[in-house]
């Protein structure tokens, strides 16, 4: 147990610099944005000195580091600034994010489920039928799904399941379970390709190992050798990818939510960018980056739990 705890602690500590990098990048974004940051609040008929005074007052003339520090401070207190978009003027960005977060989480959860429910069995199947036409068929599917950008897959599915056949609603705002299906399916299918490939190669790798032949030599039935022993070993690296998958999903969510008008954080990013609502964009990117970092962390911990060898290293 002790080694597991120390491993978790180590990983947590390592995640901290990444979090800082995320905040830094987000802050850098605002800093680099062309245009005057206080352009929104300049009163009409202000003179040059007045503008300069305003800048001083809001701290925009201070050195970079100081501004960054203040940014971090505000962040620590949960203050992400206020939205400057017309529709949501002066609403707390944090509030906006909180509103949208559950939607995105729902989408990712269902997407992940779809991805793994398809990917793992398909990968095992392909590995067991290696080099047969069934295996090749699966590989072709993964190649194509892997190459397809999420938004294009979304549009295709939209056409197939909504526009021409009216099975599922195309707009996420309609509500109800059905409306989440299309976006979740888009995300899930895309990621299923990656999962299938991973599972297949992991399974093939495990099947070659000495201990598998050893197990057979002990007289174990083939089904136990494969599904009890090989599978447990093979699934470990696939679990690590869960964390990376979260990263993929986050990127995918931004696009897919926009395609289907799903009211989550991803869609918020897009609308804020069009509305030049930079505080909101910042907040979104920060939250999404956070997701990814946590996702990686979770994956690392899960892996340590499952594979006893990792904790020592």
């Amino acid at each position: 147990m002790a080694d597991l705890v120390s491993y978790v602690v180590r990983k947590l500590l390592l995640a901290i610099p990444v979090v800082f990098l995320a905040t830094f990048i987000v802050f850098l974004m605002l800093y680099m944005t062309p245009g005057d940051p206080i352009s929104q609040i300049i009163p009409p008929h202000a003179s040059a000195e007045d503008i300069e005074e305003l800048r001083d007052k809001y701290g925009f003339n201070d050195p970079f580091i100081v501004q960054y520090w203040r940014f971090l401070e505000r962040l620590f207190h949960g203050d992400l600034g206020s939205s400057v978009a017309r529709a949501t003027l002066n609403t707390d960005v944090a509030y906006l994010l909180m509103q949208r977060l559950p939607r995105t989480l729902e989408l990712m959860a269902i997407g992940l489920t779809i991805s793994y429910s398809i990917g793992i069995p398909l990968g095992v199947f392909a590995a067991l039928k290696q080099n047969s036409w069934k295996d090749r068929g699966v590989m072709v599917f993964t190649l194509v799904a892997y190459a397809m950008p999420s938004f294009w897959l979304g549009i295709l599915l939209m056409m197939a399941l909504s526009v021409y056949t009216h099975i599922l609603p195309a707009e996420g705002t309609v509500g109800g379970f059905k409306s989440i299906l299309l976006p979740a399916l888009t995300l899930g299918l895309g990621n299923a390709a990656l999962t299938t490939r991973m599972m297949r190669s992991s399974m093939l790798e495990v099947k070659r190992q000495d201990y598998i032949t050893q197990l057979r030599s002990r007289g174990l039935p083939e089904s136990e050798v494969i599904f009890k022993h090989a599978l447990k070993n093979a699934i470990l690296p696939v679990i690590t990818v869960v964390g990376l998958d979260i990263g993929w999903f986050v990127a995918g969510a931004v696009v897919v939510e926009t395609v289907f008008s799903w009211p989550g954080i991803g869609m918020l990013v897009t609308t804020s960018i069009s509305a030049h609502d930079f505080p909101t964009v910042q907040g979104c990117i920060l939250v999404l980056a956070f997701f990814v970092i946590i996702g990686n962390l979770v994956a690392d911990i899960l892996y340590a739990f499952a594979d006893p060898r990792v904790r020592l290293g």
Partner: protein, 304 residues
Amino acid sequence: MKFRQSMNDMLASWKMAGGAKQSIVDIISRSRRNAMVVSGTTIIIIIVSLALLAPILPMADPTPAQLVPEDALLPPSTNHWFGTDELGRDVFSRVIWGARVSLTVATLAIFFSLLIGVMLGLTAGYFGGIPDYIIAGTIDLFWTFPSFLLALAFAAALGPSLGNVILAISISYWAGFARLMRGQALSVRERQFIEASRALGAKNLRIMFTHVLPNCLAPLIVWASIGVADAITIESSLSFLGVGTQPPTPSWGYMLYRGIPYLQEAPWISTFPGVTLLFTILGFNLVGDGLRDVLDPRMKGMRR
């Protein structure tokens, strides 16, 4: 983004083989027999040729100064092979010109990433010590950060333009190349012939370039190929969201976006750019994956 695991696989098998340098002739002959490499290369050649030849091909103007509204939403015909879009422009021509945009952005972005990544990676791996510590740490940080988000952040902040998209992708991509080079440099550093070279007085830089680099050429090409595919995806995604290539410059992503309201009455507006986009990405992926299979020493010959 998604192929981190495959990179680990490749690094692992590379390590296993001791980074064995396989003869170029051998590689090329095996590549010719590999279906993935052949089909991928074919696709790439077709798309690249079309893109390069775009200015001299007898096509309609993709961004005509005068729009002809009566021509809008025409289905595919002998006049307009891919039909026309909502503003009356010829879709076929826009698709071909869009290829120029995507390919230019992707190749430039990967090219810069490669430069930065290789430089930093080699330095880190070869010299070790403090520079390695710093660079390796930075690599890990950027490695974990999803490249699309990074690109999105930059594009949003700096304003949408081709240059910014290239910059954004380069910044997020260099880590992959750096990692590869660093690993190679580290392993090569320990090999005897480096010691021998040094003993003969060769300068560090020379060693780096003449010994380390050639050994890594193969995985670099694989990685670059997959990288271009990824870069095309990112660029088109950014254009789709409106922060990439700006209209009226034709870009596949943006064309797809504009076609959404017309999916029922004029599906060709989205479909043709979409299919072409898919094929292009597929082509680069095939080459990268296929080359990886060819170069993977475990795939050779008999088992046990």
